[in-house]
Symmetry: C2
Subunit: 298 residues, 2 copies
Amino acid sequence: MGGAIGMAARKVGAATRVLGVADHLATIEKARLLGAVDDATMDLREGVRDADLVILALPVCMIPEVVQAVLPMCREGTIITDTGSTKAAVVPAVEKLIAQFKAPVYFVGSHPIAGSAKSGIEAAGEVQLVGAPCALTSTANTDGESYHRVDEFWKALGMKTLRLSPEDHDAVLARSSHLPHLLAFALMGMQTERSLQLSGPGLCDMVRLAGSDVRMWTDIFTQNAAEVVHVLKEYIHDLQEIETVLELLTRTGTPGAESARERMFRVLADARQRHDKRFAEESAPPASHQSDPDTQVL
Amino acid sequence: MGGAIGMAARKVGAATRVLGVADHLATIEKARLLGAVDDATMDLREGVRDADLVILALPVCMIPEVVQAVLPMCREGTIITDTGSTKAAVVPAVEKLIAQFKAPVYFVGSHPIAGSAKSGIEAAGEVQLVGAPCALTSTANTDGESYHRVDEFWKALGMKTLRLSPEDHDAVLARSSHLPHLLAFALMGMQTERSLQLSGPGLCDMVRLAGSDVRMWTDIFTQNAAEVVHVLKEYIHDLQEIETVLELLTRTGTPGAESARERMFRVLADARQRHDKRFAEESAPPASHQSDPDTQVL
């Protein structure tokens, strides 16, 4: 994610200079090759001391400790933001650190909702930020001017920003992202050798998220466990209602089976309609992937 | 699916002549334009009377009635197959019809496991048959020579064929295809306006199957309700176990939370490993979609 943001910021000129910080030399070299940074360093102090904006593209559980390390290195007025997928635990923790150290810096939580199941600098070119949503958190401690500048930064990269509280963020993301990831891991876990042998693009899509980084997702589920439980219960309840309809459908030829069929049709049709309303455009292949009609023939 | 098979058969020369049958003139014209057929007709009798192999690419619930219509039109020795996603109801029904009418034809059930969430002749070019699995059903009534010829046909198109009973087919496909579709419809159904606003490529993938044909999937869930209930119960059970782990994770700082974290990590790591073993290669973009590295930069 850090690499993708660097690339995008340099492309649109959203930053005078993009300085990357990484803990491996190989990452730094790849970031340079990809054009994701103007320069890069393994020295955290060098990386942040002249920065107007510090973006922490890190696993959520590392953010508070890195903020603590960074605070004494920043010059006055530096704005710190992040890219983490959970906010309700992280944002208050960071705000507490800033208050505790009386650091002259500002923090605004960000979550650019883009990315690939793959991680690392190699995936930077695959992350599509333009047109994607970016959640920004706002609390009683948020500095208005800093919020505005972080908001402008993401907008300059073409993202659609949205302001909400850390708690609301985690409740919404549990539904739109954390639960879907959990479902993919669970679906992958129940496949058999034979079912994998007889599977097509449908299953492949539905388990793609099970190829995500395991440590990062253990962190996310840990940090947002309560909200994930909430939407998981709701989902299980919905599945149990569908199970009842399917049970009726097994009684072929009964009036119950006929009305169950209608009910199943309505459940699917409602979901299909909602799907098409939101994703109809995105389901068409992006223009850059369209090939000559002739080459699409098998 | 019919269009995709026609294209592939013509490309590799798996048929001397591909004659398409459709019920709309527009479909026929598109099939011709796409090169999916040598010729096409709206007259079923004309379409099947000289055929060595009749492929019924139809919704599963229509197959028996169309077979009944086709039987008196076929010449002796014609082999009939299909492309349906359920087999346990359809195959015995078709075999019964053939016996009842003492028709001099043979039936072998097929299920090429490929395809797109989109349907219709327009999607024909997107269906990737080469390398995809194709299930063939075998029963006490199956004619060995006909089975062999149908098997050779799919293999000529580059598919990996697999023999199994109609019942085994439906049990396996409930797990690898029908349940995943059901999960996508249910996940789409529980999204809110806000969660859709704050969603990324993860959700988009996980609900792609909710863009599938509603009538076709009502049929499939109806025909395979018992097996879908079976795997749905198993999946709900797995989700409930994960829910227990998440409940423990909410008790931050307790020993229970720490061991729950390890358990969550193992569940995810196991799924990730199984995912990568099966799908690692497929998760790379297909060669035809790879663009110049420079154009992948945002």
